[in-house]
Amino acid sequence: MKIAVQAGDFDAGSEIRKISKNSKIGAVASFVGLVRDVEMTLEHYPGMTERAIGKIVEEAKARWQVMDCTVIHRYGALKPNDQIVLVAVASGHRGDAFAACEFIMDYLKTQAPFWKKEQTLEGVRWVEAKDSDDEAAGRWTVPRR
């Protein structure tokens, strides 16, 4: 399991290969989040961020077969098309890998202490949290298995 909160970029292909080396693993599902069309700065709460992501990964491991997992989230100044976040989950089969990957991403959106500040033509503004993110995380509160 690897959890990293870093300013620098990451290589998703290399990270996926690192968690694919066990012959019991039959599936790796991954998600990469990107900056859309505005420059932004990502602030976070050092210490709590790593702790919150760790708890989300532990919860995913309790629900699905997660044989290995990597979560990398960047902070600091980011520009359009930059990578923000990687979640990659290795499992025996695709069902668990897909579900755990989506669960980790949905929970990260509402539980990990990151804040985006966008630099638009009109000026800088803090991005407001979306109700749809709470709803996405809420889907998982009913036990799935």
């Binding site: 919150a52 976040v85 959106k109 500040k117 803090w126």
Partner: protein, 87 residues
Amino acid sequence: MQLKVKVLYFASVREKLGRDAEEIELPADVSTIAGLRSHLRARGGAWDDTLAESRLLRTALNQDMAQPGAAIKAGDEVAFFPPVTGG
């Protein structure tokens, strides 16, 4: 014996308050996050305005998300911030 709590502010809350962290003496009548929030609001001005809006405020206690009723004691770390927007 430690008598203070560490209080942290992030993102828009930090900017509105003009402060990112402080250590404050825990008043005898403050035992929850909600109590600490009321205590800070009593400073008036931006403190009262920024910490008034419950919908836009989240709190953490010792680096875990926490509800307003969570009990706090000397030595704890409490953080106030807006709803998170990572990912």
